[in-house]
C-alpha cells in the first residue's frame, strides 16, 4: 500500500501522488508526467494588477480617408493620461487605453476639436444605422440633382452658337444653381468639413484637393450664371455624386470585414436557462455568474464558457476553432461560449462569463489586431499626407502655366488635377488589405493578435517548433512489448489492459487500445497510488506498474533492461516477471503534411526540442524534418534561434512554450497552437484556434497573399497617380473623366483587398 502525500494531487489525472514518488513530483506516475509535459498548455499567467488603466472603444463619425486615422490617433494621444489610441479604418472604431480618471467627455471633446463626432461603441448599432441613412441620403440627393442639372445643361450643349436666347440660357443656369446649392450644402458638406479640419490640424487629407476643386468650379460658375457665360454645375454635381458613390461602396465593402468580428458577438445567445432550486429561470446571458448552472437544449449555443456536468454530448465548435467536425464532450469538459450543442440536452456550470469568456477574448484580440498599424500602412500614410499638399501645389502651378498658354482652360486644368489625384487609393491600399486578411484568417480559426506579425510572417524563412508535443497528439501509444517470462506478448498486453481497465490513465488507455483480444476479467483490483495496480485474474495475482512495485510481487530484482527514452510499465505475476511495456507518442496525422507544405512554400522546418534524442529523432524522421536539436534547455533554444537569425534567417517559433521569454523575444513571430481555453492567456502573435496544424500553413499562405495584394495596391496607386496627374496637367482630362477615374481607382483598391476575405483555394 502506497501512502498518499497529504493533499497533493497528480497534475495530470488528479489522483493523489504517493509519498513513494520522487521528492517534489507533481505526478502520480511516469506516464502522467510524460503526457502532461507534452500537453501542458501555456501556464496560466498571474492575474493583472488592479486596473489602473482602462480601455474605451469609441465609434467615430466623419472618418473619410486614412489621413483621418493618424489625426484621430494624435488627437486622442495628446490627452493627458491616454497611453495608447488607435483607429480602425474599416470599423471606424477607436480604441483608447487611458487612466481610469480620464472622463469619456474629455475624449469626446478632443475628437470634437479635431472635427469628429464620436460616441461610445455600446450604442453602435443605432449610430451605424443613422450614419448609413445619412450616407444614402447624401448620395441619393447628389445623384438625383445631377440628373436634373444635366437636363438643364443639355440645351447649352446642343444649341448652335447664338440660337439659345440669352434670357432662356440664364433661366436654365439659375435652375441649375438652385439644384446645385442643396448638393453643396447637404451632400458635399462632409467633404468640406473634413477638408477644413484637415487644414486646421495641418495634416490635409484627400478631401482638401477635392474641396478646392469643387469651390474653384463653383466660384467660376457663379458670376456667369447672372451675367452670361459657361456654367459647370453639371460637372460639380456629377463629381460630388461619383465621389460619394465610391465612398458609399467602399464603406459597404469595409463594413463586410467589420461584420466578421461583429458577428462573433452575435453567436452568443441572448438568453440562458439558469437552473435554480425551483426549476428553470430564464435570464439574460450577461446576468450569468461563475458557478451558475445552466441547461442547454439541442441546437442551442452555450451562453458562456461552461464545464459540462452531464450527460455526454457532441458540440460544434466551428465558431471558435474553424473546425467543423463535431467534438465529443464528456463530463468535466469545457464548453466554449457560442459553440452549439448537437446531440443531447445537457447541464453545465459556468466557469467564465462576460468579457472573460473565450469568444469575447477572441473578439478583443481580433479588434485589437485591426488597430495595430503595420510598417507598410505607416509608410503609405506618410506619403498620402504629403501627397494632398503636393497636389494642391501642382494644381496651382498648372493653372498659372495655362494662364499664359490659354487662360480659358486654366481653371479646368486646375480642377481636373485636384480631382483626379487619388491619395485615397494610396492610403486605402494597405489598411483595407490587412483588415480583410485578419478577418479572413479569424474565420478559419487563426487569430492574429498583431497586424504587424502578419507582415513579418510573409517573409519567414524558418519555422522552428520549440516542442515535440506541438507535432504529436500527446496520446501514448504502446510501442514495444518485451516479454520476460513464459507468456506471449499479446497475452501480457491483455492481462495488463485488464488490470488497468478501470483507471483513467494515459498508460491504461494505451494498453486498452493495444489489447489484441478480449481482456480477461480481473477481480480484487487494488490501485496503489503512484505505483500501479494489483488484481487477480483466473486465480492468479498480477501487478502492473513501476519496476519496484512489480518486483515485490515477482520476488526477484528487476531484470536488466536497456535504458529507454519513453515511459514504460512492468507486468509481473506471483514469483515471475512477465513483460515490460514501452510507450511512445504518435505524430499528429496532419503534421507530416504541414511540414511538407511549409517546405513547399520555401521554408525550412526545424525541431528544437527539450526532449531526449531518442524521442526527437524518430519523430523528426517520421515527419521528414532534417534539422533537429534534442535536449535543448531554454538558454540553448534562445542561442540556437539567435544563431539562425545571425545567418540571415527570419524565424517563426511555433509552440505552446511561448512563455519562454528569451526564445520568444529572439524570434520574429511567435505562434501558439492553442486549445480554446489557452487563447485568453496567450501572448503569441498568432493563435491557432483551429485544432489542425495545417492552419499554420494556411496562415503563411494568407500572409503572403496579403503581401502580394498590398504590393499590387500600392503599385496601382503609384501608377495611376503617375499617369493621371501629368495627363490632367497637360489638359487632356476633363473634370468628369477625372472624377470617374478617381472613384474607380479607389474602388479597385478596396475590392482587390477584399479578395483576402475569401479563404485560399
Amino acid at each position: 500500500m502506497g501512502i498518499a502525500a497529504a493533499g497533493l494531487a497528480c497534475a495530470h489525472c488528479g489522483e493523489p501522488v504517493a509519498a513513494t514518488r520522487p521528492e517534489g513530483s507533481r505526478y502520480c506516475c511516469a506516464g502522467c508526467e510524460y503526457v502532461h509535459g507534452l500537453r501542458a498548455g501555456v501556464p496560466p499567467r498571474a492575474p493583472p494588477a488592479p486596473a489602473r488603466t482602462i480601455e474605451t472603444v469609441l465609434q467615430v463619425e466623419g472618418v473619410s480617408c486614412s489621413a483621418c486615422v493618424a489625426r484621430v490617433g494624435s488627437a486622442l494621444g495628446a490627452i493627458d493620461g491616454v497611453s495608447a489610441a488607435g483607429l480602425d479604418f474599416a470599423t471606424r472604431r477607436a480604441r483608447v487605453v487611458h487612466r481610469h480618471d480620464v472622463a469619456l467627455e474629455t475624449l469626446l471633446q478632443a475628437l470634437g476639436k479635431a472635427g469628429y463626432r464620436a460616441h461610445e461603441a455600446r450604442d453602435a448599432e443605432a449610430w451605424e444605422r443613422a450614419e448609413r441613412r445619412r450616407s444614402l441620403w447624401h448620395l441619393a440627393l447628389a445623384g438625383f440633382a445631377m440628373m436634373q442639372i444635366m437636363m438643364f445643361a443639355l440645351p447649352a450643349y446642343v444649341a448652335d452658337e447664338g440660337t439659345l436666347p440669352w434670357d432662356v440660357a440664364r433661366l436654365f443656369s439659375l435652375a441649375s444653381l438652385a439644384l446645385t446649392l442643396p448638393v453643396l450644402a447637404i451632400s458635399a458638406r462632409p467633404i468640406f468639413a473634413a477638408a477644413w479640419h484637415g487644414v486646421i490640424a495641418r495634416s490635409p487629407g484627400m478631401d482638401l484637393p477635392v474641396a478646392l476643386g469643387i469651390i474653384a468650379a463653383f466660384g467660376a460658375s457663379l458670376p456667369n450664371t447672372f451675367y452670361g457665360g459657361d456654367v459647370y454645375y453639371d460637372s460639380i454635381a456629377m463629381f460630388v455624386f461619383l465621389l460619394l458613390a465610391a465612398r458609399h461602396l467602399e464603406r459597404r465593402a469595409l463594413a463586410r470585414t467589420a461584420e466578421t468580428t461583429e458577428s462573433l458577438a452575435e453567436l452568443l445567445p441572448r438568453r440562458a436557462r439558469r437552473i435554480t432550486a425551483e426549476g428553470f429561470d430564464d435570464v439574460e446571458c450577461r446576468e450569468l455568474a461563475v458557478g451558475d448552472r445552466v441547461s442547454i437544449g439541442i441546437g442551442e449555443a452555450a451562453p458562456a464558457d461552461l464545464a459540462l456536468v452531464g450527460p455526454a454530448t457532441h458540440f460544434d465548435e466551428a465558431v471558435v476553432t474553424g473546425e467543423s467536425a463535431p467534438v465529443a464532450k464528456h463530463c468535466g469538459d469545457t464548453l466554449l461560449a457560442g459553440t452549439v450543442n448537437l446531440t443531447s440536452p445537457v447541464e453545465a456550470t459556468v466557469i467564465r462569463a462576460g468579457a472573460d469568456q473565450t469568444l469575447e477574448r477572441i473578439r478583443t484580440l481580433v479588434e485589437r489586431a485591426a488597430l495595430d498599424r503595420p510598417q507598410w500602412t505607416l509608410l503609405a500614410d506618410r506619403v498620402a499626407r504629403q501627397f494632398a499638399t503636393g497636389v494642391v501645389v501642382l494644381a496651382a502651378a498648372g493653372a498659372i502655366a495655362w494662364w499664359f498658354i490659354d487662360p480659358s482652360r486654366a481653371l479646368w486644368v486646375a480642377v481636373a488635377t485636384l480631382v483626379v489625384s487619388c491619395p485615397c487609393a494610396l492610403a486605402l491600399a494597405t489598411p483595407a488589405a490587412f483588415t480583410a486578411a485578419i478577418n479572413g484568417l479569424a474565420r478559419s480559426g487563426v487569430l492574429v493578435t498583431r497586424a504587424r506579425a502578419l507582415e513579418s510572417l510573409a517573409s519567414i524563412t524558418h519555422f522552428v517548433f520549440d516542442k515535440t508535443g506541438t507535432l504529436t497528439t500527446g496520446r501514448l501509444r504502446l510501442a514495444h512489448v518485451a516479454t520476460l517470462g513464459r507468456l506471449e506478448g499479446d497475452e501480457c498486453v491483455a492481462l495488463a489492459a485488464s488490470l488497468e481497465s478501470a483507471l483513467p490513465h494515459p498508460v491504461a488507455h494505451a494498453l486498452a487500445t493495444a489489447s489484441p483480444r478480449r481482456v480477461p476479467r480481473a477481480r480484487f483490483l487494488n490501485a496503489v497510488v503512484g505505483e500501479g495496480v494489483e488484481g487477480v485474474i483466473d486465480g492468479r495475482r498480477y501487478r502492473v506498474g513501476s519496476a519496484r512495485f512489480c518486483a515485490a510481487l515477482a520476488e526477484s530484482p528487476v531484470p536488466s533492461e536497456p535504458e529507454s527514452s519513453s515511459p514504460g510499465a512492468w507486468l509481473a505475476a506471483e514469483g515471475a516477471w512477465l513483460a515490460s511495456f514501452h510507450f511512445e507518442d504518435s505524430p499528429r496525422p496532419e503534421a507530416a503534411r504541414l511540414v511538407e507544405r511549409l517546405r513547399d512554400a520555401g521554408c525550412e522546418v526545424v525541431l528544437l526540442s527539450g526532449d531526449r534524442r531518442a524521442v526527437v529523432e524518430p519523430l523528426a524522421a517520421a515527419l521528414g524534418i532534417r534539422e533537429r536539436v534534442a535536449g535543448a534547455d531554454p538558454r540553448a533554444k534562445a542561442a540556437f534561434v539567435a544563431r539562425l537569425i545571425r545567418t540571415g534567417a527570419r524565424v517563426a517559433m511555433v509552440g505552446d512554450g511561448v512563455n519562454d521569454a528569451p526564445v520568444l523575444a529572439g524570434a520574429h513571430v511567435a505562434i501558439a497552437p492553442a486549445s480554446g481555453t489557452a487563447i485568453a492567456q496567450s501572448q503569441a502573435d498568432f493563435v491557432l484556434a483551429n485544432p489542425s496544424l495545417e492552419a499554420l500553413a494556411d496562415a503563411l499562405a494568407a500572409a503572403r497573399r496579403t503581401r502580394r495584394i498590398v504590393k499590387q495596391n500600392l503599385a496601382w496607386a503609384a501608377l495611376y497617380n503617375a499617369v493621371s496627374i501629368p495627363l490632367a496637367l497637360a489638359g487632356v482630362l476633363t473634370p468628369w473623366i477625372a472624377a470617374l477615374g478617381m472613384a474607380a481607382s479607389s474602388l479597385l483598391v478596396v475590392t482587390n483587398a477584399l479578395r483576402l476575405l475569401r479563404p485560399a483555394s
Partner: protein, 47 residues
Amino acid sequence: MDIVYLLVPLSLVLVFAIGAVLWWAISRGQFDDLEKQGETILRDPDA
C-alpha cells in the same frame, strides 16, 4: 419658347417635392433592409 418660363420652375418644384419624399423614405428606414421584406413571405407565420 415662353412655356419654358413655366415648365422649368415647375420641374424645380417637382424635383424638390420628390427630394422631400426621398428624404422622408430614407429617414423612415425604408431602405435599411431591402431583403428582409421579400424573405418574410417564405417564413412560417409564427416564426
